[in-house]
Structures are given as structure tokens and as C-alpha cells.
Symmetry: C2
Subunit: 229 residues, 2 copies
């Protein structure tokens, strides 16, 4: 049987390969609302516009796609990004005028907003936090990034709805009130306290951190952490 092309001489040198990038939808909770991190583009294309932070895939450095996303987070934002998840890949001819064909793998992350310095030195661009829902509807963003943000919001809210909680984003130990407030901020709507807590312990997601309390003016709240397994 005759051989198919990529089996006979299958090195990547045989065909031109796409300009391959990682873009990251970095989310955070800021003042009770979900925000997304954008960077201002210093060069064409879309010079001066706001865009998702991203970077080129480096096959000499990156073990796999997830590692590439972690590296891009560290290089461009100076932080190890938690709650990282691949969302989708998009690729096509006219997505980015810098290359004839560009493939972007989109990731989502969730970080405490204080962890990112919006005025970093070195090779980092100016960054800002923007209300996520507004960014998702903002047609002025560079490339197709508004759409990507919308997709990330949908996926992320679905996770919270299903109580797939962002433990890597939360502090080691947290109160139920903090957890609920965090979920409410991400969903953009109010949750019923008792229903929320019932769901939590039906699923055995949390365990109390014994003896620990956190001080308020009144009764201190029990601290919890993720149940191990």
C-alpha cells in the first residue's frame, strides 16, 4: 500500500508550520467582581489596543502545552498561575498579520489580583484589570480576544455552578463566607447561604481546620480547607 505523506517523510520541515502562541485569560476577583487582565500592545498590529497576555510557544523550552502556559505566565506576568486550564485552540490565516497563519492555544487562569504588579519593569507591558463581562463585550480589544474572554467566562462559571471550586486561588484555609463571596463574585449573582452550604457538605468537599478561627468583631468563623483526595 502506498504511503501517506506524513508517514513517508514526516518531519515538520516538510511543510511550513503555523506561528503558534499561547494566550491566557487571567481572571481575578476584585472588589466583589470578576476581572480580567489585559495588556496594552506596544507594537502593531493593534498598537495601543488592549489584548490578552500571551507569548510564543517555545518548543526548545516547553515540555508540553501546559508548561508553555506556565512559562508565559511567569515571563509576562511574573507569577506562577494557578487554576490553569486549556480552553480551546483557534487557528487561521488572517488572525494575526505578523505571520501567514497563526494558531493560538487559549488558557484560563485565576489569580489573586494583588499577585500581579501592573507596572512591572523589564520586558513586561502595561497591564490593567478590567471588569470581565465588559471586556467580553468590548469590540475594541485586539484580535478576537473579546470572544475568548467570553468563552473563558462561560467555562469558569460552569465550573463554579458545578462546585468545581478554585482552591488554588483561595487561601490555604478560608471561611465559608469567604468561599461563598468568591463564588458569588465569579458568577455575578447572589447565592443562598444555606443551599450553598448544604451542597458543599453533601459532596464532602471541605474539612474543618481544627482549632483555627479567624477574628471578627463577633463570633469567629470556622476555617476550612479542601478535603484531601
Amino acid at each position: 500500500m502506498p504511503k501517506s505523506p506524513e508517514d513517508t517523510m514526516p518531519t515538520s520541515g516538510r511543510h511550513e508550520m503555523p506561528f503558534t502562541r499561547i494566550e491566557i485569560v487571567v481572571l481575578s476577583v476584585i472588589e466583589g467582581r470578576l476581572g480580567v487582565l489585559l495588556g496594552r500592545r506596544a507594537q502593531a498590529p493593534y498598537q495601543g489596543r488592549w489584548a490578552l497576555p500571551g507569548g510564543v510557544l517555545r518548543i526548545d523550552q516547553d515540555k508540553d502545552l501546559d508548561a508553555a502556559a506556565r512559562r508565559v505566565g511567569i515571563e509576562r506576568l511574573g507569577v506562577e498561575l494557578p487554576y490553569l486550564r486549556q480552553l480551546t485552540a483557534i487557528g487561521g490565516r488572517s488572525r494575526d498579520p505578523r505571520a501567514p497563519w497563526t494558531l493560538s492555544v487559549i488558557y484560563r487562569a485565576l489569580v489573586p489580583f494583588e499577585a500581579i504588579d501592573p507596572n512591572p519593569g523589564k520586558r513586561l507591558e502595561a497591564l490593567k484589570w478590567v471588569a470581565a463581562d465588559e471586556a467580553a463585550a468590548d469590540a475594541r480589544l485586539a484580535f478576537d480576544h473579546a470572544e475568548r474572554i467570553g468563552g473563558a467566562l462561560e467555562v469558569t462559571r460552569g465550573e463554579i455552578d458545578r462546585l468545581e471550586l478554585p482552591f488554588e486561588f483561595l487561601p490555604q484555609a478560608f471561611t465559608l463566607g469567604e468561599l461563598q463571596a468568591c463564588c458569588e463574585a465569579m458568577l455575578g449573582r447572589h447565592l443562598d447561604k444555606s443551599s450553598f452550604r448544604r451542597r458543599l457538605d453533601e459532596r464532602n468537599l471541605l474539612e474543618a481546620v481544627e482549632g483555627q478561627m479567624r477574628t471578627g468583631a463577633f463570633r469567629p468563623a470556622q476555617l476550612y480547607r479542601r478535603r484531601c483526595p
Copy 2:
């Protein structure tokens, strides 16, 4: 502000780009069961093993990723693939010994099994249909393809559960019984007739094709098609 690398000289020639491929999990319903299409590998690596059909991304031919998947379907299987959906991308260093770094974008398709000729001439390899659930658990498949099949099954069954129906896979007009049998085959479990139909028309998914019937030995069945928008 100094520029970041991909803004200063961002052509894809600056860094080596990954060997980029499309792999397709082609599903079909065969004798009431869900099957997946595998091709036997003629060359190393994994010579003689069964693998998902796939092909190299051709940036000179493919307008975008979806177009690439369609082209690969036509070139390798000889068919326009319906119900095509991107599932995920996986990339890494040691996935495929033919290249230092390989990125695969995985697609799912659903075709009538008769549409594919398992003994094609030309550049096509030997193909066979395998029970999907068994393939997903078969560690002998090439690369990480068993895992990919598992992912495709999960996504596809989720769609059926939510009544996102494979209209492109069904005939133009079909009876409710056919539709239910198709869904049952894909889910691998029985569905209650009356509940299934109630859900269908609560959602207004179908419209009757007037005057049309299909003959059986008994009362003929009403034909339906997808409600337009």
C-alpha cells in the same frame, strides 16, 4: 518601554514551530452501538498499531483549523465529515518520535458508517470500525489515542444528554423512533420513549414533514426534520 520578543520580530521563523497535526475521532452508530474509526499505521512509529486518522496541518491550504479538519477527512477517509467539533489540543515533546515537538488538535465527527469505504485505494490506509468504549480502554492503540477517544465519548454523550442532536448525521427526515434509537446507541443505554419525546417537543427541536410517512408492516411513522433556526 522595551519590547517583548514576539513584538519586535515576530515572524514564525524566529523560533522553531511545532509539528502540527489534526486527529479526528470519527464516530458512527453500527448495529445499535457506537463505533470509532481506526486506521492501521503502515510506518513507524507504532507500526502496525491502530490509530486515529489524522494529518498534518497545511497552512498553505487550510483557511482555519475547522477547514483543516474537513480537508483531512476528505483526504484520508474520502468523505465530508459532519458533526465536526474541536475537542482539545495536546502538545509536547515526546508524543511523536517523528518530530521534536508535536501539537495535535483533536476533532470529533459523526458519520454514517456506510459512507466510509474501509478498503480504499490510493493513499489511504486500512481502516476498521471498533466498538468505541472498548477502543477508549485499549492501551494498545498508538500514541495517546485511547485517551482521546475517551474524551470524545464523554463530550458526545454530554451533547446527547442535553439534546444537542446530531442532525447532520441523521437523514434529512427521520422518525422519532429512529432518532431515539440513534441516541440510545450513542449513550449506550435505554431511553424512556415518552420522556424522550416530551423533552423533544418542549424544546421545539423538530417539525413534522407534512404528508410524509414511512412504511412498516404496521402503522406508518411520521417523519420529522430539524426545526429550522
